[in-house]
């Protein structure tokens, strides 16, 4: 119980000067009779300016938004609660700049002022709940992100078990054939090729998983050394030429004439380029083309890998480099969706950047890799 004849005046003074809520009182004609310092600070209007004026003149948005009925109810003795989640605010006021909100988020209580059983006016208390709302929204977003990560992990495990089993099934099948037809040289030759290919596929999958795991645990160290950039690009492209020919895709390259040396991890740099080009080959149909263009700049070099493939829709573009992410329908093209995530992390470890551009589905895609002349180690880890 706050009421005390000896303290009423000082309590009112305190509420006027220090309350962390806005308090406005009106008489029964809804003429403003009280306006505390919080309101002066947050509306920019002094008490002298508003006292004696109609509440709805000072806050015209109350009428525009139909909230004037709450004041009519208050004059009939009813109390109203105004929740931020329904209304966002009682009246439009600026939010504190650090919150980055268009308006201050508010909760409010509107109540009758009763004296000897008769309603003599109204009292409104406005709470700034902006910070709370931001915190709650962050919690919801964090939970959504965790749910998505869980779903991606489930998807990943399903793809992983399938992709690890497929080459094994082939290896096991050929081992059984060998037992029965060991003398058939043609069968053994064909089977050995398939076993080798299947084992290589599986090895690559396992290496991808281990790479990602090392990057996530920030345990991947770069072995930086001076390397000739064109050589690195050529080496990666050469390993993919047979695959391009087999698929009927033309692999162009365009490079500066003069050599330039960069300080990079050559093995990891080749892995980056190999991943980007093999990704382009994967999504480019027979008869298409993939072009690698190398350019030098003052701060580093740029490698663009452009293809005439299936392209990337605008919705997928921001997620391309997220681990375990695969566009709808692309899972059937093989792979765990780790390649581009590994690429981004390896590029960032070198202090470089990578992004993709595409005009949309069926329009091809271009991956733009920018690397510094001296690969500086940056923070590892998955974003």
């Amino acid at each position: 119980m706050l009421k005390n004849p000896d303290f009423n005046e000082p309590i009112l003074d305190w509420l006027n000067d220090y309350a962390s809520q806005g308090i406005v009182t009106t008489d029964k004609d809804l003429i403003i009779r009280g306006w505390n310092c919080w309101l002066e600070e947050n509306t920019g209007r002094s008490a002298a300016e508003v006292l004696g004026r109609s509440l709805f003149v000072i806050f015209p948005d109350l009428v525009e938004r139909g909230l004037d009925r709450l004041y009519r109810s208050a004059l009939e003795g009813q109390i109203s609660v105004l929740a931020q989640r329904f209304h966002q605010y009682l009246t439009k006021l600026p939010a504190r700049p650090e919150f980055g909100l268009a308006e201050m988020q508010q909760a409010a209580r509107i109540a009758p002022l009763v004296c000897n059983g008769i309603v003599i006016g109204t009292i409104t208390v406005i709470h700034d709940v902006s910070e709370r709302v931001i915190r709650e929204n962050e919690l919801v977003a964090a939970r959504e992100q965790a749910d998505k990560a869980n779903e991606a992990k489930d998807r990943f495990l399903a793809v992983l078990s399938h992709d690890l089993r497929t080459p094994l099934t082939s290896i096991l099948g050929w081992a059984r054939i060998f037992r029965e037809r060991a003398g058939d040289e043609q069968i053994v030759r064909r089977g050995t090729e398939i076993i080798e290919r299947s084992a290589a596929v599986q090895l690559q999958l396992i290496e991808e998983i281990l790479d990602l795991s090392r990057i996530t645990a920030a345990k991947l160290e770069l072995n930086l050394e001076p390397v000739e950039v064109r050589q690195i690009v050529n080496a990666a492209l050469e390993t993919l030429e047979p695959a391009a020919i087999a698929k009927g895709i033309t692999l162009h390259r365009s490079m500066p004439d003069e050599p330039r040396v960069a300080k990079l991890d050559s093995k990891r740099c080749q892995q980056i380029i190999w991943n980007l080009v093999s990704n382009s080959l994967k999504f480019t149909p027979r008869g298409g083309a993939v072009e690698a263009t190398l350019k030098y700049a003052s701060e580093g070099f740029e490698l663009r890998i452009a293809d005439t493939g299936k392209g990337i829709d605008a919705e997928s573009l921001p997620h391309l480099f997220e681990p375990l992410w695969q566009a709808e329908g692309s899972a059937s093209d093989g792979g765990l969706g780790l390649g581009l995530a590994i690429v981004r992390n390896l590029v960032e470890l070198h202090g470089g950047s990578i992004h993709a551009e595409s005009s949309g589905t069926g329009q091809g895609a271009t991956f733009i890799l920018k690397m510094p002349w001296s690969g500086a180690r940056t923070q590892a880890g998955l974003a």
Binding site: G77, I79, S80, V81, R85, F86, G117, V133, E136, N137
Partner: protein, 202 residues
């Protein structure tokens, strides 16, 4: 309790008027069509109330509680089980992702829902009795059913009764069940029932 079928029907009719007003307010507030059914209205002694509520409220009960006073005084309550309270606020406040929990903003929103409903019901009773009823600030409580019932009965000197209304909020093909209860002393209830009889006759 001496509560005739006719009184029950009339009370139901009055509550339906209040519920229709509430549904209209909630529809406007949420931007969705909200229907509010009051299929069952009953008057129970307080010790019977626990048995009825415990049928659907097993653990925590979320209550919007408003005390009213005047020639009729008592406690007005809107009660949900926890899941029901969360579902209702998520359905009504659709612009953000479902919270799946009752955070402070959701509690505040539910308090406003309760406030609208209880104001509408007590407003109808007030008009009926031609008296002005004063309300306390609505409060939201999260507690066990036992704690809730104890908090209502403590300090009351007279025998208390509860007008209990089973409610169902229907929004976007979902329905959330709850209870509205108006707990009155025997004298207030007697006044209310007599006023209802007068209303029937006019």
């Amino acid at each position: 309790m001496l509560f005739t079928d006719k009184q029950r029907d009339s009370l139901g009719e009055l509550i339906n008027i209040a519920f229709a007003r509430t549904a209209a307010s909630l529809s406007e507030l949420s931007g969705h069509r909200v229907l509010l059914n009051a299929p069952e209205v009953d008057v129970l002694a307080m010790d019977e109330l626990a048995a009825v509520l415990s049928r659907s409220i097993k653990q925590e009960v979320v209550t919007v509680h408003q005390i009213f006073s005047g020639s009729v005084s008592g406690d007005a309550l809107l009660m949900f089980n926890y899941e029901g309270a969360v579902t209702l606020t998520d359905l009504l406040c659709e612009y953000r992702a479902p919270s799946r929990r009752l955070d402070t903003s959701a509690q505040e929103a539910l308090t406003e829902v309760g406030n609208i409903l209880l104001n509408a019901c007590l407003g109808v009773f007030g008009n009926l009795l031609h008296v002005q009823v004063s309300f306390s600030m609505p409060r939201l409580h999260l507690e066990s059913l036992d704690q809730l019932l104890r908090s209502i009965t403590i300090g009351s000197e007279e025998l208390r009764y509860a007008v209990v209304v089973s409610t169902a909020f229907s929004i976007k093909e979902s329905a959330v069940s709850g209870y509205m209860s108006i707990v009155l002393g025997v004298s207030s209830l007697d006044r209310l029932l007599r006023a209802i009889e007068d209303w029937e006759e006019t």
